[in-house]
Amino acid sequence: MRVSLRQVVRHRRRYIGVVLAIAIGVAGFISIITMGQDVKRNFNEDLAFIGGVTIIRTVLEFRPQLPLSEFHPDTVEAIQKIPGVTVASLVGMTRLNFFWKGEPDNLSVVAVDENFWKMRNLTAISGTLFSPQAVKERQRVVVLGKRLAQSLFGTDQVAGRTIEMGHDVYRVTGIVGGLRDINMEKSVFVPLTTAVDRFSRELVRDRMYVRCATWDDVPAVAAAIPQAVKAHQSAKNLVVEVSWENLEHVKKVAFWIEFFIYLAFAATLILGGMGIWNIMMAAVRTRTREIGLKKAMGAEDRDILSQFLTEALCLSLVAAVIGVALGRVLVELLGFWIGMRPPEELFFTCLAISLVFAVVLGVGAGLYPSLQAARMEVVSATRYE
């Protein structure tokens, strides 16, 4: 072991490229596996919002033969508890008369609960979105869609202004952005509790949006929703809508991205392994006389085999240790960047896997050159020029 380590240290310049290749592969593997779930969740969110693929639209459809129905609060609570559901948001829609500059008009009103912004990942373009507290306290506040704000006030600076709907005056808190729906952009958003108080007769809370943690959760959640509804109310007119086509597209894109990332790291590791093989073959060739000499001194085949095998193992283990250190740095950086902290035990599992992998790589790539060295004939080795 000491002899092999000495050889590796003495020929470190020869080995540095191979060691770095394996170290990068190991670091990539550790960061992907350790941060994989968190990155995937973030990645899912970004991709999902483009296609809205992790949002399940649940509607109690109007059918003339059935009484008009709404989602009960217990149903909303039960759906929230389905595994894989991040958030469920109850929504009611209606049209209300309103007066603007003395002229009557009507307005599309979307009554939303405190989860709506989170469910659609919406943020304010200006001002603020009304808070859960505003919903709880049934405040008369509204948030405007961008197009509506422009058509009413001709500016985005609308926080603090007022509008009159029905018989009440509402304070505007801000403009919501990121709706990606032209009708929504022309709507006014009111707290659901306030809407129930002020215009419950016109309002039907017949739709619920359910957001899943990842797209992998979507099929299971979509299948569980009817059961959750049936447990609390009639579900005869329940319609569960999922954008299956978009979901498949997004999954395909994600699969290929993931595939190429794994492929890149696998290629790095394979190249590293081939590098070890190649460099050990070269070492055996350049050290042929040394091998012959050692055999003449009484070294057995197994001594030579173990020396070269240990050298290969040292290389891959040193590379793995550097890779683990690099991986740790990457995990910390990624954690800081996406604001998540993976479980420590996952990192240590990866560390153990990396070390086992390094041993397999070292032995696998070093075995053939080491066997070549061990089987070398002493006479031809000592005469090698």
């Binding site: 002899v3 000495r6 003495r10 006389r289 040394e290 000499l293 050692k294 055999k295 003449a296 001194m297 009484g298 070294a299 057995e300 085949d301 001594d303 004939e377 002493v378 006479v379 000592t382």
Partner: protein, 247 residues
């Protein structure tokens, strides 16, 4: 006395001293070695018989291609003969397994090669340590044995010097010390002075003489230098794979 006169003198000595005896350290009989290549078999050793005793320094002399190095490699168990017998006292060495032969080499034999073969990028200490590592000598026992071997060739002051920085003469003396470090009973030297100037060549031979003077070691030197051969107890001239006139 010129070279030929020395050779004849030694031949005379050998004729009187070289008969196989039961107290011989090694004894070979009917030793042949044949190589095969595309052109057919090449017989490099033909029915070689001889014995070596402790305290002897035997020179094997002959022109290039006469088979003297092949004989040395067979004596060192670095290659096997095609036929014949090779006994170490009562032990038939040719029946040993590859592992047992390696063990025999590290316990009983020491090698000095022509090309001052030291391990590159290693210190003198490391070069001498290898045979002890293979023999399984404890780490704390190694330094005194290495020091002792280096003292015998007057190079103890070079203990931690890099082998790359030694002169040719020093390298060969280190090679002699390495051959001695395991306290072998037979030292096999293949042209040990071949790459040295006259002064350093004789210095190496002086070391061999000191070693055999103790009486517990024998030395076989392959050489084509009559001056070197003249310093040996016996000379075995070889020609075309035949050990001429000696038993």
């Amino acid at each position: 006395m010129n070279s030929h006169a020395i050779l004849n003198h030694n031949l005379l000595l050998m004729n009187t001293k070289a008969a196989p005896s039961p107290d011989a350290l090694i004894q070979v009989a009917n030793l042949t070695k044949t190589y095969h290549n595309g052109a057919g078999p090449i017989e490099v050793l033909r029915k070689v018989d001889f014995a070596i005793h402790l305290g002897e320094m035997v020179a094997v002399m002959g022109p290039s291609g006469s088979g003297k190095s092949s004989l040395l490699y067979i004596l060192g168990l670095l290659q096997l003969p095609t036929s014949g017998s090779y006994h170490w006292q009562d032990t038939d060495l040719l029946t040993l397994s590859r592992g047992q032969q390696a063990e025999f080499r590290r316990r009983r034999l020491g090698f000095v090669f022509q090309a001052c073969d030291l391990l590159e990028n290693s210190t003198v200490y490391e070069n001498l340590e290898f045979p002890l590592i293979y023999e399984g000598v404890e780490r704390q026992e190694r330094p005194p044995r290495i020091q002792e071997a280096l003292q015998r060739v007057n190079l103890e002051h070079r203990l931690y010097h890099s082998s790359n920085l030694l002169s040719g003469g020093e390298r060969q003396r280190v090679a002699v010390a390495r051959a001695l470090v395991n306290r072998p009973q037979l030292i096999l030297a293949d042209e040990p002075t071949g790459q040295l100037d006259r002064r350093h060549g004789h210095l190496v031979m002086e070391h061999f003489e000191e070693i055999i003077a103790v009486g517990d070691t024998a030395v076989v030197v392959v050489t084509h230098d009559p001056d070197i051969a003249a310093r040996c107890s016996r000379v075995c001239p070889m020609e075309d794979g035949v050990l001429c006139g000696l038993r």
